[in-house]
């Protein structure tokens, strides 16, 4: 018997994909409903390996979905709600057309609602998964919270965005989870660490809404994203609040402004109330401290350096959490309040502002205990001696440097140092990559001290009128030392030292393990180990080392150039 002939595209890639039109037909949905469903369920179009085969011989470019994705969508109960919507719209439309407003209102009162809780749970099986995907959600919600009400988007969505974002900010404040901040021309970038996951989001600058002329962005699509994200953010907030021993939903106690205060308000009321809410601590369910700080175990692993590094990082973060503790800030009115209040409160500081301008201020300007006043104008008429007058960038830079920076560079009227991004790869190794000394000083304070010392030394030397040549050599040596690769060569450079050691006889001294000998030994061992590398990995290892060396060389060269430039500048000055 002859077996049945196999049809083309019935197996393999040809059978794995389904075009959008086919999917619509299969699910019996309109395009809009399908889009909505896909966004909510997290099903995206795909690119096949071989398009022609996936499209069953068609060479044009179609939007393709995986057949399993679509089959999965078929099981979703909210499809029925979407179909109900269709019927509902028809009914309402009919009632409206025949001007039967009584039944129309009856329909409108019982409109079908989408319930998305189970989808959040399905897409994010664990809480950590949800946090991992929070970036998009936060950025969109923060953006929508600044928008005015728009056509085709339910108004409650904007209100909910405002509520949930403020709740989230409170959770961050309570958890002291903020790590990095950055002011870009686009908006404020924030990075927090929640449950070990880094979450980054952008908050737009004030007055961010731009009416679009060409309707480049489909607000309806974005609103569908927001619809899902709101549910997700709400439940994340709930969990966060409970893990921090806080009541949810929080009662944001804002002292109701009196008549005179209300009359003076010239900003949007909601905005000032929003910020005022940020300035008040939340009610706690219990005073038990939330266990959080994890002591790093002292395992003797093969790379103790890394453990040390991790421990240092942990200590730094612990310090960062109480960066502004005990400090009292007063914000001048020209300063953007929302980011500053959020940041200062995140690190344990106290904030206030002019009580005549905005609601929610906690202390007055004439309070003598204020330590910093944040102002953004070249000069102030009335100044108190007891406090520093700093520009807002000091707050941001201090957070990024993980310690309180010296205020002298940030006084009002001063030309500010550049605001550097904390998001550039922080694993930059100064020996592998060139980092300008100013930035390196910001990153590690030890280096800054070193630079200062050097400068002083140099000045002293210049007073002593010592030859420049000597100094150059000295610097050269230092650079080679810092490079770390050619240490053995350094030792060779000083043969006199070695000779002395060999010649001098010191009876009775205790045998001391020489650090350099040990290093030498280590080096030799290292070289031996290098030789033991399998043939399979040898090439890649060599490439790696070569790369490292090249980078180090380049960095050294750049530093040398810089030094020469600096010196020439100094010479020109003198």
């Amino acid at each position: 018997m002859v077996s049945k002939r196999k049809k083309k595209y019935s197996t393999g890639e040809g059978s794995q994909f389904i075009s959008r039109k086919q999917a619509l037909k299969k699910l019996q949905l309109t395009l809009n409903d399908f889009r909505r469903l896909c966004i909510i369920k997290g099903i995206y179009p795909r690119e096949p390996r071989n398009r022609k085969r996936a499209q069953k011989g068609d060479t044009g470019i179609k939007t393709l979905y995986h057949i399993k994705d679509i089959q999965f969508l078929m099981h979703e109960p909210i499809i029925w709600t979407l179909r109900d919507y269709k019927i509902f719209n028809r009914k309402v439309g009919r009632a409206k057309a025949v001007r039967d407003f009584k039944t129309m209102k009856k329909f409108l009162d019982n409109h079908p609602t989408l319930k998305l809780d189970h989808i959040v749970k399905e897409r994010y099986p664990t809480f950590i998964d949800a946090i991992r995907d929070l970036d998009d959600c936060l950025t969109l919600c923060f953006l929508f919270s600044t928008f005015p009400s728009l056509a085709h988007i339910p108004r409650e969505q904007f209100n909910l965005c405002r509520r949930l974002t403020i709740e989230f900010m409170h959770a961050i404040i309570e958890a002291k989870a903020l790590r990095k901040v950055f002011i870009s021309i686009k908006g404020y970038y924030y990075q927090a660490e929640i449950k070990g996951q880094t979450v980054t989001w952008i908050i737009p600058h004030h007055f961010s809404f731009e009416p679009q002329s060409k309707q480049e962005v489909d607000f309806k699509v974005m609103s569908t994203f927001v619809e899902f994200y709101l549910i997700m953010l709400g439940f994340v907030n709930y969990r966060l609040y409970h893990s921090l021993n806080l009541f949810y939903p929080p009662k944001l106690s804002i002292s109701t402004p009196n008549e005179s205060e209300k009359a003076l308000v010239d900003e949007n009321m909601f905005l000032s109330e929003r910020i005022a809410a940020l300035n008040t601590p939340l009610v706690k369910t219990s005073n038990e401290p939330v266990e959080e700080d994890i002591e790093i175990d002292t395992f003797s692993e093969n790379n103790p350096e890394k453990i040390e590094e991790a421990r240092n990082e942990a200590i730094k973060i612990k310090k960062l959490k109480t960066l502004f503790k005990g400090l009292k800030f007063f914000l001048n009115r020209e300063v953007p309040r929302e980011p500053l209040v959020f940041i200062i409160r995140c690190f344990g500081g106290e904030v206030s502002w002019d009580k005549n301008l905005f609601v929610g201020s906690t202390f007055n300007e004439d309070d003598e205990t204020i330590t910093h006043q944040v102002a953004d104008r070249p000069s102030l008429e009335k100044q108190y001696i007891s406090r520093y007058y700093v520009q807002p960038q000091w707050v941001f830079d201090s957070v990024n440097a993980k310690e309180l920076l010296p205020v002298s560079k940030y006084f009002i009227g001063e030309v500010l140092p550049p605001h550097l991004s904390p998001f550039v790869n922080n694993e930059r190794n100064p020996f592998e990559q060139y980092i300008p000394p100013e930035e390196r000083a910001l990153m590690d304070p030890a280096f800054a001290e070193e630079i200062n010392k050097k400068r002083q030394e140099k000045e002293n030397k210049q007073v002593d009128c010592i030859d420049n040549n000597d100094e150059l050599e000295h610097d050269n040596n230092e650079i080679i030392k810092t490079n770390g690769l050619e240490e053995t060569e350094v030792e060779k450079l000083d043969p006199a030292l070695d000779k002395k050691k060999k010649l001098s006889v010191a009876p009775g001294t205790i045998y001391k393990e020489e650090p350099w000998m040990q290093k030498k030994q280590e080096r030799q061992e290292y070289k031996l180990r290098e030789k033991m590398i399998k043939k399979k990995h040898r090439k890649i290892y060599r490439a790696m080392i070569r790369n490292k060396k090249d980078k180090a060389k380049e960095s050294w060269l750049l530093r040398k150039k810089r030094r020469i430039i600096d010196e020439s500048k100094k010479d020109n000055k003198t």
Binding site: H205, F235, Y238, R239
Partner: protein
């Protein structure tokens, strides 16, 4: 009374409609109703109490002096600030639909309290009350009232234990409301490794260091240069490839092309071609369908067989010879393998690169948005005078497109269908003048018109 015989008239046209439709009774009725509405119901039947009421309210509006009025005015906020004021919500008493219904409900309850209600009416009243309360409570409740990541566990503790395998759990739950299809593996896999919020370029800082700013500028300039180069290339390859000719020459060419094959264009050649047509059309001799005879056929078959045999013999000979060519074959194989390997390497490299690039998911290609950048003259270095750049919403959309969550689309504007407008025949001119009045006016005027029109001719 004799019933008037209803005359059947065609009311096809407007004039006929106006003439024959009888609306007198309707009009009469409406007028009467209007009159009664204006007057109120029949007054004679009303009592004095209904018609008049005694004004016992003695409080008169306080008459204020000019000074007092001014004093009140001073307490009010300035008119120039009126734009800043919050809108006053006058309806402090909630006037929502729900409240109105509940008020009505209470009224009805009070009224009916004395009378006896039917049991069904009592039930309906109760039901509405319960429904209202339920709705009110639902509105008050918070959507987020449970820990989403715990509740599921507590509901089915025995199913959550580690001894129950996933498939078993599914099997037990099948047919119940709790049953949920497990996400297929292919759906769970993340399709891109691109971050949802990309770290900003350090040059995008509001107060960037010089190096960072220049680096960003260079990046943008490089991109721009690439675009310019591409444009130039396209221009060179298309527009510049063709010679430019004058308009006159173009016209001439066109005429020449269009009049190809027309009799007058080939006038001069006609005499020559006529001579040619008399001779043979082709140089080749005419084809004759000549059949092969049997002998020829046999010979042809023999030849074919011989050729085939020779071919087979040659293959056999080559097989023997190949034994001595083993070395060559080996090198060939090795070369081939090497070639394949390099190809594979290239492919893997390309694959790695493609991971960081958006995929093609729709007919439209993803377009990288421009980088945000402030010019040096706009960099003020302080937060107060910061110049904002970029549209965050657009940025979000582009990010979604880049991660293939949304397919890139061009916004289409619907073309409005052209509606052809025309005037109905009866409305062509001012119908009051041309149609209605013409009927009403006496004849002489019409005649007049005729005369006028006659004059004009």
């Amino acid at each position: 009374m004799t019933v008037e015989k209803r005359k059947r008239v065609s009311k096809k046209r407007k004039i006929a409609w106006r003439k024959h439709s009888k609306i007198k009774d309707v009009e009469d009725f409406l007028e009467e109703q209007g009159f009664e509405e204006r007057i109120g119901n029949i007054i004679e039947q009303k009592s004095d109490k209904e018609l008049f009421h005694l004004d016992t309210n003695t409080t008169e509006p306080a008459i204020l002096s000019k000074k007092e009025k001014r004093k009140i005015l001073t307490e009010k906020p300035l008119r120039s600030f009126s734009a800043f004021q919050q809108p006053v919500y006058l309806n402090l008493k909630s006037n929502t639909k729900r409240d109105i219904i509940s008020k009505r409900l209470q009224k009805r309850l009070k009224m009916k309290a004395k009378e006896t209600l039917k049991p069904s009416e009592v039930q309906s009243l109760k039901d509405t009350k319960i429904a209202m309360e339920k709705k009110k409570q639902q509105a008050m409740e918070d959507k987020y009232n449970a820990d989403l990541w715990i509740t599921e566990d507590s509901r089915e503790p025995e199913l959550q234990s580690e001894w129950v395998s996933n498939s078993t759990r599914q099997n037990i739950l099948r047919g119940e409301s709790k049953f949920r299809k497990i996400l297929p593996k292919i759906t769970r896999w993340k399709q891109t490794i691109l971050p949802s919020v990309e770290p900003p370029h350090p040059g995008m800082s509001y107060n960037p260091s010089f190096e960072d700013h220049q680096a960003l500028l260079k990046e943008i300039a490089d991109k721009e240069q690439k675009i310019i180069k591409e444009e130039q290339h396209l221009n060179r390859v298309t527009n510049k490839m063709f010679r430019k000719i004058t308009r006159e020459r173009n016209q001439e060419n066109w005429i020449e092309e269009m009049s190809q094959g027309l009799p007058h264009a080939q006038k001069e050649d006609n005499s020559d071609s006529e001579v040619d047509t008399s001779g043979p059309i082709s140089v080749n001799p005419p084809v004759v369908n000549k059949k092969k005879d049997l002998k020829q056929r046999r010979k042809q078959k023999e030849q074919q067989k011989l050729r085939h045999a020779l071919k087979l013999a040659k293959i056999e000979r080559r097989k023997v010879a190949d034994i001595y060519k083993l070395k060559q074959i080996k090198t060939k194989l090795v070369k081939n393998e090497e070639k394949l390997e390099t190809l594979q390497q290239k492919r893997t490299v390309k694959k790695k690169e493609m991971i960081h690039k958006p995929k093609r998911v729709g007919p439209k290609k993803y377009e990288e948005p421009d980088l945000e950048f402030t010019e040096i003259k706009d960099l003020t270095g302080n937060l107060r005078t910061l110049k904002k750049e970029g549209n965050l919403l657009m940025d979000r959309l582009k990010s979604l497109q880049k991660r293939n969550i949304v397919e890139p689309t061009a916004r289409r504007t619907k073309k409005k269908a052209k509606v052809k407008q025309f005037i109905k025949p009866g409305h062509k001119d001012d119908w009051k003048v041309t149609v209605a009045k013409a009927k009403l006016q006496p004849r002489p005027l019409l005649r007049n018109k005729k005369i006028i029109s006659g004059d004009s001719f």
